[in-house]
Symmetry: C2
Subunit: 680 residues, 2 copies
Amino acid sequence: MGVGDVSKRILLGRKLRSSQLGETLLPKRIALPVFASDALSSVAYAPDEVFIMLSLAGASAYMWSWKIAIAVAIVMAAVIASYRQTVHAYPSGGGDYEVATVNLGPQAGTTVASALLVDYILTVAVSISSGAQYAASAIPALSGHEATFGSLLVLLLMAMNLRGIRESGSFFAAPTYLFMVAILGMCGIGLFQLFTGNLPRVESADLTITPEPGLEGPLTTFALLFLLARAFSSGCAALTGVEAISNGVPAFKRPKSKNAATTLLLLGMIAISMMVSVIVLARQMGLKYVDPHDLDRLTRDGQALPADYDQHTVIAQIAEAVFRDFPPGFYLVVTVTGIILVLAANTAFNGFPVLGSILANDGFAPRALGSRGDRLAYSNGIVFLAVMAIVLILAFDAETTRLIQLYIVGVFVSFNLSQLGMIRHWTRLLQTERDPAERRRMVRSRLINAIGLSFTAVVLVIVLVTKFLAGAWITILAMIFFYALMRAIRGHYDKVSAELAADEEDRVMPTRVHAIVLVSKLHKPTLRALAFAKATRPNVLEGIYVSVDPVATDKLLAEWDERKMDVPLKVLHSPYRELVRPIVEYATEIRRSNPRGVVAVYIPEYVVGRWWEQLLHNQTALVLKGRLLFTPGVMVTSVPYQLRSSQIARERQLSDDFRVRPGDLRRGQVDERHPDELRR
Amino acid sequence: MGVGDVSKRILLGRKLRSSQLGETLLPKRIALPVFASDALSSVAYAPDEVFIMLSLAGASAYMWSWKIAIAVAIVMAAVIASYRQTVHAYPSGGGDYEVATVNLGPQAGTTVASALLVDYILTVAVSISSGAQYAASAIPALSGHEATFGSLLVLLLMAMNLRGIRESGSFFAAPTYLFMVAILGMCGIGLFQLFTGNLPRVESADLTITPEPGLEGPLTTFALLFLLARAFSSGCAALTGVEAISNGVPAFKRPKSKNAATTLLLLGMIAISMMVSVIVLARQMGLKYVDPHDLDRLTRDGQALPADYDQHTVIAQIAEAVFRDFPPGFYLVVTVTGIILVLAANTAFNGFPVLGSILANDGFAPRALGSRGDRLAYSNGIVFLAVMAIVLILAFDAETTRLIQLYIVGVFVSFNLSQLGMIRHWTRLLQTERDPAERRRMVRSRLINAIGLSFTAVVLVIVLVTKFLAGAWITILAMIFFYALMRAIRGHYDKVSAELAADEEDRVMPTRVHAIVLVSKLHKPTLRALAFAKATRPNVLEGIYVSVDPVATDKLLAEWDERKMDVPLKVLHSPYRELVRPIVEYATEIRRSNPRGVVAVYIPEYVVGRWWEQLLHNQTALVLKGRLLFTPGVMVTSVPYQLRSSQIARERQLSDDFRVRPGDLRRGQVDERHPDELRR
């Protein structure tokens, strides 16, 4: 080991061999924050939406808030229980998509995939919009500029993910645990104050809510039911993100499924406690909360509020009241809530490529997404996600309340298909399983999934009924679009595959090889190409020179003779300074005169390393190779000659290989080897 | 000939063979409009600038206007006479750049080239700005939006040139001749009215010009001289564009040089008549014209003008007065003047790539610019020109008066170096020439060029003195930048060339060829690649499969056995779904174990035709080829398999070959063959 190696090792840390990879898998205490940020962050906006919906009938309707919280908690418990079955049955990380595809067929799988795609976009839009609201409640100067600020945040996330940030456990652990401590701590203090009778009132406690026209008096049963259904379906936004763990099983330490199931249970309990506590506390502290568009429905002592009244989010109001004598507590809660929302958005940037690569492997997305090596494909996906999210944020002016109407349709479509798939899964297994203990376990699992399905089906119907006109139709249109796109891509791949299927005649060997070496000058690359071409012992070998200038042509011919080249040189005249067309025409000509032979075109290329050097070179070779690909019976050989500066590009490529790509952590694919190892 | 061919021939016109190309060369009557628009269009703004400069000392200074016109005319005559020598001596179309390079060395040549590059940008900016002013004088709604309108015009020209419009003779002939008729007709009518004593007054005739502070009283001799020098140097803008013919000699019909010289003479006479007539008429009709920024210096009967007073260009004012009883005449003059200005700007879009290809062939610009086939390079040049012109138009708010300060420095730098080069040229020829008649002719030519040089040198000094601070410094900075860039590009090419220079050891043939064929599936492209690779009889031949999924791997291995493939298949395991790195590593490994051999990598590729199909395929092959180019001792062979849809791309490429590119007409390179001919 040289001195350089030693110093590098000191600087860059111990290298891990590929076989040591197990060490980088996630223990539960790290996996929880990695996969929890999306699910937990919804406590930052789901309670607000419940109160907004109930406020339509005035503050008296808030008496229903804790019942709605319980209903959402029950549904969440059922869903969590269902997904615990899924992580045991499908530990490969395919999640809902895999469950639906395997058990219900590719059409159900594609439906789930399109729902998930739309959902990733909405996760970014909703989380960032809500995060921008929290930022505005801590920094008053941001008020009114939430959409701009949110778009900038999305651009920042995009840039970080394009650069390839290492989504590491520690990256998530600190803020997520801090968030749990802050929210649960705040709720704990608040509940303690409640029981000791010292509970403070929130800033909006002395306000009065004017009900919406038509909802003033005692409500009809139907109107009440519809109102509660709307509040409930908005509250179900708290369920988004619980499926993340089922996509991340491969990243867990062994026993993977068991650890994933335990983590899921933990996540569910924390999420439910947070949501129920926040809703109960808010109600007890006298919160009055309306749609930000309807601030004129809030009055104080019969007077309209001042025009600059700023309605703070539910958690911000509770934190302000609980920590009234300790402002750092307020800022801690608001700050970590904002951070967790940004982390939740980042989750989508990591989940999107994972889903893309799974779809690519099944032929529903461009193949390039399936290979880790294709940086361009990754980048396109990330840019697409960011652009779509920004469009939504700007179109809906970063208003969480309006975006949430679009949000949970997709989640519940995939919940439903996934539960249905799991029921089929157990039914199928039960047909062959004979062991009674095992059968009992399966029947129990099937029951859990059936309960889950019945809950999520009811929610989906409620969501569709209450939200279709409010915005869910946009989601459904987008899902149909993605569905059609994926089917079309798959159709194309199938068509190509059929056209490419091998039959016997394809094994016929060409009768002769006519090799031509392109000559532009008599320099090292040309000599190397001639030598390599000669080494393949073709039936005919000749150099080809495209002449655009008689003086240069004569000079080359003289040099050719002088060097006693043992390969004939053919000159093609090109009066219009074209280089590409004469060569393509000549190759076509050779092939035409001998249709069973093959033309081997050798192109000497010298390669340089810096981007501006690449602008100055090789354009013609690139164009020519592109053209010859479309010429039947021709094979094109690049004979590279590496100039000294090409070393720069080689090293850049090597370090690029080891760059972490979004989603790697979730797939358990973190390779800690260092480029040096390959450079030997 | 099939029915299809006949109908195509009817639709698309008679095909011309390459040998019939002579027919598309330009007769004088077409060449004049093609090359004249730039030079003639300056009559649209040069007189205005003369009057603006003189107005600084009040309307009394206008008594100098016709003398300045005569001075400019004399310089123009001298320059025209000089260029008539150039077109005889250098008929290849290299123009000033060639003259300077051959006679004064590459540094002078590069200086001329950088001057011309800057000038092309300014031609677009000045012509379009002036055109926007004419448009505003006919369409009052455009007033105040000249910069936006001008930028849109540049974008339109850019789009047309990117599409590849056919710059044909008829495209130029009609508007240019109409312009000549309109302006000369207007001047003729005006002069007739002058002699019959019926000359009308222009709209600004009853205004009074307040001189600039400091220039009110009788001027000192020095102040007067400086004022006249400024007016004269602005008037010299009329000389821009006369050099265009010297770059276009190859496009003329035989005898090329003689026809070009005659056309140049005609052009000079027309330009001089127009300019002198306009200036004389304007003065006689009582024109008052000031810098558009100084409109407050114009008064009527001691009263300030209304705030919305719109000062129309000189030609517009004359036309308005001459055609006061016949408004269509006014609109004709203004419209054709606007059109000729846009054509002049288009001239730069055509001249820029011509210069680029000449520079590329000498190694001063990226090589790609030198080959007609490279559409990308052409496009980049056109976009660059348009963007720079738009930046200038917006920065100077489309004010011709301010842009003109930057304009003519470049022109006169190249005039001077070119004249100096011509003098050297004749001196050199005289050293060997013995025929007395020929010697007399040469001495006379040298005298003409010497007179030209003395005039243009004086003008250059005047321009530098009067305009340096007013904006010429920007031009000079830009010239220095382009100069340095061109030298750097040439330096890079020279360095690469030295590194590539051949020596004897390069002829050593590789001792053995180890061929590997990349296998992804056992389909037609793979079978073809295996057959082609086998046909080259390598020392070792093996298939390589990168395994990312054990199930797919087993399936392939089984199929390989079943089909009794006679080539061994090697499986490389890739736990991270990478495709590229394992192959690069394997190739490096083979090469390392046998450093004198060569690794031949065969990549089966299927090619599709539509752009969206290309997005779905071949990404990995592209990345892999890029990577292997940087791996020493490897040659990379693409074995294409053309799918049915690839025919679409092939036809698109063929028709692209025949697309006319900007500048083709000027180079005499219009190939009228039709793609069908190649499609046999």
